[in-house]
């Protein structure tokens, strides 16, 4: 029961944080432009500008910050009702992870030219991190859309109790592994040009933290330790934990992004385990055809969950 209350508290905190985070993001974008979805940029002038000047796409030069020579053509321009904010529309989707610069030439206000303006457009760090967490948790849930960690998923999802315990252990181990793998890769392997050893190094890191979780859990919660049994040690040979460091090195994530990926993947896995455990407790008393009993029916149920999680694929907040 304690663990369920803990989960409820975490969920409540997340819900409270969401609206509070809104203004922070807006404040971070002040004085600069902001992305509107991935095909438009919004730039505030601060003063009402002339419509005839603002509606001419030739007055704007847009480029990615690292290459000022590659200009991105502006397709449409629209002004808001107060004529202080322009929205530039583009034909191709922008890479919202990169930084863009918008140069507005000879800004004209009330018939007078008041000089050129430059705007920097980038996502704030908080936005990027939140997107990674949400992506790993729901949109690309590691179990239902990336099919990682199925062995443990089917192994410990028989009871809600063990599922919650395993979920928390997993999140902890995964976050710690993500941090350490980042440190090892960027501070040891890369400077020494030993990239090709990363598989061996990462699996060693994972093994250390599983041993760590094993020792702690044995003291803190011997009952749960007994329940998890062999699956606790099996975390070492689990693809989901090894996948996190591999994905973060492939995508070139920074330290904070790596931690977010670890947390998101862990929480996503915990959610998947808990959902599955709820269904499997009910399945115990159902009359399943004998040839489907056990794993086959569990697979069909997982397939249905995956179908439901497909609904998250269109989700994008920023």
């Amino acid at each position: 029961m304690k663990t369920i209350r803990f989960f409820a508290a975490v969920a409540a905190m997340l819900v409270l944080l969401l609206p509070a985070a809104g203004p922070t993001f807006a404040a971070a974008a002040e004085g600069a432009g902001a992305f509107k979805k991935d095909k438009a940029i919004e730039i505030p002038f601060g003063v009402p500008v002339d419509e005839a000047w603002a509606k001419n796409p030739a007055n704007y030069a847009v480029y990615e910050k690292p290459d000022p020579d590659i200009k991105i053509p502006v397709e449409t321009v629209s002004l808001d009702a107060r004529k202080t904010t322009a929205t530039l529309g583009f034909k191709d989707p922008l890479n919202t992870a990169a930084e863009y610069v918008v140069d507005a030439k000879d800004v004209t206000s009330a018939g007078k030219v008041i000089g050129s303006r430059s705007f920097l457009i980038k996502k704030s760090q908080a936005q990027v991190l939140f997107t990674i967490i949400l992506g790993a948790m729901l949109i690309n849930n590691f179990v239902f859309t990336k099919y990682l960690g199925l062995c443990i998923f089917f192994g410990v999802s028989q009871k809600k109790e063990t599922a919650i315990g395993m979920g928390i252990t997993f999140t902890l181990v995964m976050t710690l592994t993500a941090i350490f793998a980042w440190l090892l890769y960027n501070w040891v392997l890369k400077p020494l040009h030993l990239d090709f050893l990363k598989i061996i190094v990462f699996i060693g890191t994972t093994a250390i933290f599983v041993q760590f979780a094993d020792t702690i859990l044995r003291k803190v919660n011997p009952y749960l330790f007994k329940k998890l049994g062999v699956y606790l040690v099996l975390i070492v040979t689990n693809c989901i934990i090894l996948a996190v460091p591999l994905i973060q090195t492939d995508s070139g994530y920074g330290p904070l992004q790596s931690i977010s990926l670890g947390v998101g993947a862990g929480v996503g896995f915990a959610i998947a385990l808990f959902l599955m455990a709820c269904v499997r407790e009910k399945l115990e008393v159902c009359r399943v055809p004998p040839t489907f009993a056990g794993l086959p029916i569990a697979f069909i149920v997982t397939g249905l969950f995956a179908l439901a999680f497909l609904g998250f694929s269109g989700l994008s907040i920023f």
Partner: protein, 207 residues
Amino acid sequence: MIKYIKLLWNGLIPENPIFRLALSLCPAVAVTTSVANGLMLGLAVVFVQVFSSCTVAIFRSFIHPRIRIPAYVIVIALWVSVIDMILPVISPEVYDKVKLFVKLIVVFAIIISRLELFASKQPLVPSFFDGLGMGIGFLFGLCLIGAIRELSGAGQLFGYDVLGGVKPLLVMILPTGGFFVIGFIMATFNWLEYKITGKIPASGGGH
């Protein structure tokens, strides 16, 4: 010779890693959206399984039983690193789709369980055939699932249109389809065993 053929057959059907032992299911669902992907990963697994089995069989008397698991993991990681460098040269496009799972072969339960159960106790030649049998069994499983999903989902086989542009069940190449196909194939195997032996087999290990 009969003994060796038996070992090969054992890995293919009676102890098929995917459908009977229910080991290493993650890649079985993930990469099998087409036969080519399944074939690529299956070949990588055959390579790693055979070479790891042979390595462990040769050095089995030098490995202290207490540190055997870390030793096995290092051996597997070594061969995975090798195949991870070979595959992109053979077929860059297909490798791009399966590269995460090629690296994850290190943690496939099937490989380490064969090392523990077979190669650590048997000499080189039987270990070779056991590894080959298990690898081919895995390859067979991946190709079967891949063929079913590609045919029913995209109406193609190996990228060639075979159903005249008809795409019967798009859901099969989506994440969901993999789970359904494996569930139904497992049930079919159970049903066949029931018809032949008259009893419902216990479900697989699941890890």
